[in-house]
Symmetry: D2
Subunit: 340 residues, 4 copies
């Protein structure tokens, strides 16, 4: 941590601040005095020093953190890639590539079992399907709820694909713990801290989507919430951020993949469907996601997009998904990976 | 709703689509044919037509909504301003101006009772204080929880000020229903739809903060969630949005006040403290909020900001708050309002 | 400036870097060594040290600037407010409030002389009018060019109001030097550095609009370009920034006024018309701009908005402008200022 | 174009507006009347109808454009890909992949000739080098100017690589017309309309970078400026946009490639160096750019990044560039293209 003192602050005051910092926080403080200002360098465990409070000191001009505020998710302390085991499917680690596919929402047994068979045949490793749906409008379809999870389990029994579904509230934690293989936290809940703490108590791995306008650091801090509560199996999912551009639903930020790779040891996958919002853009963005080094993809596939209950416009048909997988496969190999 | 057909689509196909729309949705469809394209105008109750599905039609180029997707919060259907009664304090309506003040978090009985007396003396109508705190880091102070609410009640008993506190999870709904006069939903939970639905079942009014990167329409849609669930007493609170500018904590968007005024009948207040993130900027932004026509303010006040457990940097001391109120008063009068 | 070294870098390497920095740049460097990392604090004239180059050093983790990169525009070195004299009209300084008004573009003698008389009667101090127009489309009206300036001069002769017009290219510098009282640099040219340098050679004051997505610091750096080239008479103009919100044309950032006031000694005015993009929103935003402490306003006024050649939707009629001035006047007085 | 009338407007008024529109603009107008509102669909050549003016009509609620405002750059009217010939190097068209490489700024003969030889050996088709540099600070190195172009010409003579350099002001147009093979317009000048018009008079092709916060449509409109002025050889370059994320210098928006492909026939290349701002992120982003379907890349390469006069932090050494090209080559082949 670095503290920049205001011009003209006396040495007495500076020494008093140094003494307080060293005594209260057990850190070492070095002082560099100049004509314009003095700079205090703090080394040691500064994680618990409150920057805000220091900023309130009338003699302080600015306080800057030089170390990351996260620990468990920090690559510095865990240099090896984490591989998350999703009921037998390994995600992360650099050798495998995991494709999660399925409809935005579960609508019927026929639909979800049919799509599950199709995406498995095309090479998907995990089946996604929304049972509880976060919708902007209270008048839109809100999902089948617990019944949707039962249908996902039928599709799992039929195909063997582990299932991924979104958890929207703490009260469903027990249900998800029992039924779901990979528990998704959606973008709009990325900083629903109460939900994060509860997710941290589950034994099932968590897929944490990036919030619409959250930085890499805030995203990792949300993973840290889950990890600090006891669940270290977190997979991050980039799904686009909000910008001034309205042509796409969101702006997919593929720089997140190399950035997160450097900041954290957690696996990271990409959801091109929600980013684009248009089915015809999914293929080029999926190709880019593989090439940039993602550990996997999450793609929306629906048997009948024009009649989908949500997000039809961005869903691929099973045929288009099979075509996409045909395109992705040689690229995955070129990247030195193979489908898990 | 307007549907733009792709160039070259046959009249047969267009007529078939028109027939389907009129039959399935009971709307009236007019067609304008031109060389480049055909335009379909749909009038009637189009709220339940799914734009996404229409977009999936191969003959359709684009679909545009021409009416707002919200009803209960829509000024068109409720031309009069709504005045929300917060345990006797009226918020909204154009005649009164309500000031909510208090610390970011409740820390002790002395602290909250002391601040309550000070802000009441200076003219505040409602006392704010966080008991459950949404913090970016799991290692930061998370609030006193239910004990904090008890201390707020002591401050209320002492001063008569109704209390405002943030609800972070559905499981605390019953507690807040009993203890709190105005239930705050924070910016990071603005699209926590499960929480919105639960808030809609409370008898207490709701203060709904704008999300960090949410549009006016999305914000009103979140109010609509609460209203559709049965609670029509919603106050909106502008607290700054996320932009590329990092000098301020957030960018306060005061255009929201005249915009929301036109779109909705709900009251709207401004939180300059969270927007600025720096105490010295609170006064000019508060002045601007009054002048732009807000129905009230929400200001962070702490007895000892340098030792506050959170957000000290943006908190005013009781003295500075009293000074602010002295500045605001003549402006409130000039706007034809008076403090409630 | 602060340099954070990577963990594990040897003391020899650190001492070598310190020696180089002290020798090459004449600065004083203090070192704080800790277990996790070492921090170097540099004091002295660090303005010419290239942060990028230091970042390239393999032993360096991060480089942070602690001092502002601007000098001439910096309030630290010029504590007093600058008052810019625009042909007799003082802008800035805290006592006066300057209103600039007029049409988006000059269209005819009748139009500009008529509007000039109207806005003068209502209290405007300066007449604006576009002669060269920056338009998104090459097929839109591009302005009357030099002829427009002549018509502005007729309006000036008739009313005595000094004139403000936008300079779009270096080749017109001579023309503007001769004809215009206050030379505007538009938002889209805020980082047209060649134009800034040329503007710095003029004897006329410059009105520098903020770019659509530029930070306060970048904006001041652009003022610094003009000042470094010899012209210290710069007025800043906040006109809204680009965000995800599309209801308004831009998001007016009124926090810029107190922020710039602290960072710089230059005057700052607000353009609510371009920010809002809708005439009915100009009044509340103008009120807020006065209350937040701006030194003036720039408002679009057109005699016949529905037939304006550009920006009609955001233009006030002379009647509405007179009404606005009636509303603003008591507020300006309340702020302890008066119209200049 | 679609016009939505306000509720309650009489049929007489609507018919009068229809008659005016049909008479003044030669368009066909269809009217759909409903209980809530009436919708007018306009077909024909609506490009010259001013939406702003219609919006000013008191009976009009909203006006929406349904057709693109650009023509020459519009794929609808030019279905075939445009291939731009840069002194013999074809850019665009789907079969070739063009790599532009070189230093941020030309610094000396040795430097530029050395880098030119290195990048040519590694497979680059065009040599970039800045002679006139747009810098945020007036105190930073501003480039060698015309001398820099001479050094670029020496490097061209030595290697045969056509040269790319940035044009910052109209006054250098003649110089660039004579010396440079591909004239770059930088991000900060994307809406410097005067410069665009002048670029439109050159015989040399133009590389138009996307502005920091400009939409796809605005970007194409700037290309349209150049094309409308007579120069149809425009290559677009995505280089990242400004968002709230500060870890990267800019947020690279790879969705732009499939989007622009659909909107326009112009070639599009990607600059991963300026987007990332960090050399170690260039490789993954370059891979992603190839995979998403870009027509080429623009990469910063410097012989001695720690001593570069600008942008050293994002520059590759010649060795790292050769390594990058080795990685890109099999991917380019997989995409069915080959290096030009």
């Amino acid at each position: 941590m670095v503290i920049v003192m205001k011009p003209g602050v006396s040495q007495e005051k500076i020494q008093a601040l140094v003494a307080t910092l060293e005594k209260d926080h057990g850190v070492t403080v070095g002082v560099t005095n100049g004509v314009g200002c003095s700079i205090l360098g703090l080394v040691g465990d500064t994680a618990h020093i409150d920057m805000d409070k220091l900023t309130m000191n009338d003699d302080v001009e600015r306080v800057m953190r030089v170390q990351e505020p996260y620990k468990k998710a920090n690559r510095k302390f865990h240099p090896e890639d984490t591989v998350v085991d999703v009921s037998g499917v390994p995600v992360g680690g650099g050798a495998g590539f995991a494709v999660i596919a399925g409809p935005c929402s579960v609508e019927s047994e026929d639909q979800i079992v049919g799509v599950a068979r199709d995406v498995k045949a095309a090479g998907a490793a995990l089946l996604r399907g929304g049972a509880f749906k976060p919708r902007t409008s209270p008048y839109s379809f809100q999902g089948m709820g617990a019944d949707g999870l039962e249908l996902l389990l039928e599709a799992k029994a039929d195909t063997g694909l582990p299932i991924v579904s979104e958890l929207m509230a703490p009260r469903y934690c027990q249900l998800f713990e029992e039924k779901v293989d990979l528990v998704q936290i959606g973008a709009r809940n990325m900083q629903n801290f109460d939900l994060l703490k509860e997710a941290g108590k589950l034994s099932k791995p968590i897929l944490l989507k990036r919030g619409l306008s959250n930085t890499y650091e805030e995203w990792i801090m949300s993973a840290e919430y889950i990890m600090a509560a006891g669940n270290e199996n977190v997979i991050l999912c980039e799904r686009g951020v909000r910008t001034f551009e309205t042509y796409t639903r969101n702006t997919l930020d593929l720089s997140a993949i190399p950035a997160i790779r450097r900041m954290s040891h957690l696996p990271i996958v990409v959801d091109p469907s929600h980013a684009a919002g248009m089915y015809w853009m999914v293929e080029p963005l999926a190709m880019a996601a593989v090439a940039v080094g993602a550990d996997g993809l999450m793609v929306e596939v629906h048997n009948d997009p024009p009649h989908a209950k949500c997000d039809g416009a961005q869903s691929l048909t099973p045929d288009k998904f099979a075509h996409l997988m045909g395109k992705l496969n040689p690229l995955i190999e070129l990247m030195g990976k193979k489908l898990v």
